[in-house]
């Protein structure tokens, strides 16, 4: 039994006077206890909206959510706000992208941790403080006894992200969602935070959904990877399969566009042409068709289905041929 089962999730943003916008369109995937699943895509691919929908953090007005999200046998989408608040922070934790804006600037980081412990673990302020210091120590914050009374602006970016991780893991959730947790950080700090995350989730057997546009992050961390494009999953594979033999032209393009150290000097990078704004509607055909090197007539007229193909799921009429798919030493 999967810990989290997302079935046919869709999110449509509706505002008066504008055309409804489908941000997430029939997304299905599941997460086993202790598993790390990647959700990869460029900005606007619907990966963040998917995570917010799972957490129940989308605005109540203006967003129409369909499908189902089952978390250890409970349907999350039909829970009341109060029931959701009982679960969030306790069973599901979330780490956000920008650690500075994601922390309240006017209260101490100590209080920002203890308030979760008081809420979900029924601790007194005093007990929670002791526990908070331990949590800060565990996420590798130096001198936690002093830092606990400091404010977010007194910490560096990496330290703030450690605090956010401590908050998200404070109640030992079964599932942690990390939404681009390293995007706003220096490269050296990125590696530290990633190894901290993977260490913590394997220590506590927490399942992790890693949302990122950075395939390097996926390569180091995830068991299963879902690649999203235009609100739909276009390819799902195990990490090794994906990196060694990506079949979807989009995934292939992403891997090709990473600069390689062992490439001959002067060899140009191979970016994916165009941008997300070139997309066509999924109803018309394949949203990626305008940017796809393999696109044929069928791609412009018939939407591809997500089908099992060679041990993976693939949504493509003209996948990359198996021989060409080998992206040797991509990372």
């Amino acid at each position: 039994m999967a810990l989290l089962d997302v079935r046919d999730l869709s999110v449509v943003f509706k505002r008066k006077g504008t055309r409804p916008f489908t941000a997430v369109d029939g997304v299905s995937f599941s997460v086993e206890p202790g598993q790390t699943v990647g959700l990869v895509g460029e900005s606007g691919s619907g990966k963040s909206v998917t995570s917010l929908a799972i957490m129940g953090l989308l605005p109540k007005r203006g967003a129409e959510i369909g499908g189902s999200v089952t978390f250890s046998d409970t349907e999350l989408l039909t829970l009341s706000d109060k029931q959701l608040r009982d679960r969030r922070g306790r069973d599901l934790g979330m780490v956000f992208q920008d650690p500075l804006s994601s922390l309240n600037p006017v209260i101490t980081i100590g209080l920002q941790i203890t308030e979760v412990l008081e809420r979900h673990r029924g601790m007194t302020r005093k007990e929670a403080r002791v526990e908070a210091a331990e949590l800060l120590d565990r996420v590798g914050l130096p001198d936690p006894q002093r830092r606990i009374d400091e404010y977010p602006h007194q910490l560096s970016g990496g330290m703030r992200q450690r605090v956010l991780i401590a908050i998200a893991l404070a109640c030992r959730p079964k599932l942690l969602i990390a939404d681009e947790p390293t995007t706003a950080l220096d490269v050296t700090i990125q590696a530290q935070i990633l190894s901290l995350l993977s260490e913590l989730v394997s220590e506590t057997d927490t399942a992790l959904i890693m949302i990122t546009h950075d395939l390097g992050v996926v390569a180091g961390l995830c068991d299963d990877v879902n690649v999203m494009y235009g609100g739909r999953i276009v390819e799902r594979a195990q990490r090794h399969d994906l990196f060694e033999r990506s079949r979807h032209p989009y995934t292939h393009g992403l891997l090709q566009s990473i600069p390689r150290l062992n490439a001959p000097r002067g060899e140009p990078l191979t970016p994916i042409r165009g941008s997300v704004s070139d997309n066509i509607e999924w109803e018309q055909g394949c949203a990626f068709a305008p940017r796809c090197p393999n696109a044929t007539d069928v791609c412009w007229s018939e939407p591809p289905e997500l089908k099992a193909d060679d041990g993976r799921m693939l949504r493509c009429h003209n996948p990359v041929a198996i021989g060409d798919a080998v992206t040797e030493g991509a990372l």
Binding site: G89, R90, F96, S101, S102, N104, V106, I107, V116, I167
Partner: protein, 334 residues
């Protein structure tokens, strides 16, 4: 925190010094000097010159300034040209009345303004919000004196609920202690006097509160809407905190920062509003003194009043800065 307060206090000193120069210079640049004001427009040049000598106005301007500064520092603002009484005495007699009115008005504005702004933001775009926005628009647009007369008409003329003007009922013999009528009654145990003073205070303070109230509602509303969309509020929600804690600790506390700045600025503006309100309600405060002083070119009194207003403004902003530092830790380190 203490260091912050001391530093801010010290910063107020040069501000006031510069201000004293400005006040001094400005008054001496006005056409028609104090001598003509005293002697009348038909005075001969000889008499004016003689008067200038008596008043020390023929000394070099720098000497005059330092004499002015020295006297001011010892609390001597000279004598009013209208009444001949020391300005200090006049002002300290009238100041409590204006203070009482201003504090009451600001209290009302804050007490109702912040909750209403918050509620409007919570019900954004719905009836309650629209009603609030329109009400506050009217609040800003209606002049204080018009609102004053309107209130008097409704509550005195039509309903006979509240006294039309003044600070006391003539039949009540209240002892003056601080000059703040509502407080004096409590201090001396003359509770009927306090009750009477409060009834007199209601209409003028409501009239005076209308503008700051409307501004506070609008700023609070905008600020809450702003903060509601911040990432850290989403973080707070993702922690599963109760809506109550999210609203109080995470939204409201951050939203109050711009509101406290507004309160400081509005308190400064309240002074000018008080002049009009005092006129409408025959409230014998600084406004009456100021009005006379301007009309009759009473320089010593004007000087004293302007400096007093300035000191009050500087002090209020000092308080705002301190409250800012209490709410926002980032301000303390700067």
């Amino acid at each position: 925190m203490l260091r912050f307060t001391v530093r801010r206090l010290l910063q107020a000193v040069p501000t006031l010094f510069v201000l004293s120069i400005l006040v001094f210079a400005w008054l001496r640049m006005l056409p028609g000097g104090p001598a003509t004001a005293l002697l009348g427009d038909k005075a001969t040049p000889e008499r004016v010159a003689a008067m200038n000598a008596v008043l020390g106005l023929d000394d070099p301007i720098v000497v005059q300034y330092f004499r002015f500064l020295g006297r001011t520092l010892t609390g001597d603002f000279g004598n009013s040209l209208i009444t001949g009484d020391p300005v200090m005495e006049e002002v300290s007699w009238a100041f409590p009345a204006t203070l009482e009115l201003s504090v009451a008005a600001m209290f009302l504005a804050v007490l109702f303004g912040i909750p209403m702004g918050y509620i409007a933001a919570r019900f954004r775009g719905r009836f309650l919000d629209n009603a609030t926005v329109i009400t506050t628009l009217v609040g800003v647009a209606v002049p204080v004196f018009f609102l004053g007369f309107l209130l008097k008409y409704i509550f005195t003329q039509e309903m006979s609920l509240l006294p039309p003007s003044g600070r006391h009922d003539v039949l009540i013999d209240a002892t003056r202690v601080t000059g703040i009528a509502t407080l004096d009654g409590l201090l001396t145990g003359e509770f009927d006097a306090t009750w009477d003073a409060m009834l007199h205070l209601i209409l003028p303070s409501v009239a005076l509160a209308s503008i700051p109230f409307a501004v506070i509602v609008r700023i609070t509303r905008a600020s809450v809407l702003d903060v509601q969309g911040e990432d850290f509020v989403r973080t707070a929600d993702s922690k599963g905190l109760t809506t109550q804690i999210v609203r109080k600790r995470h939204v409201l506390r951050n939203a109050l920062l711009p509101v406290s700045t507004t309160i400081g600025l509005q308190t400064g503006l309240l002074m000018s509003g008080a002049v009009l309100t005092e006129k409408v309600f025959a409230w014998g405060g600084l406004g009456t003194l100021l009005e006379q002083a301007i009309q009759q070119r009473d320089y010593p009194r004007l000087q004293g009043l302007i400096l007093l207003f300035a000191v009050v403004f500087v002090l209020v902003n000092l308080l705002v800065d301190i409250s800012y530092a209490i709410i926002d830790p980032r301000v303390r380190v700067r």
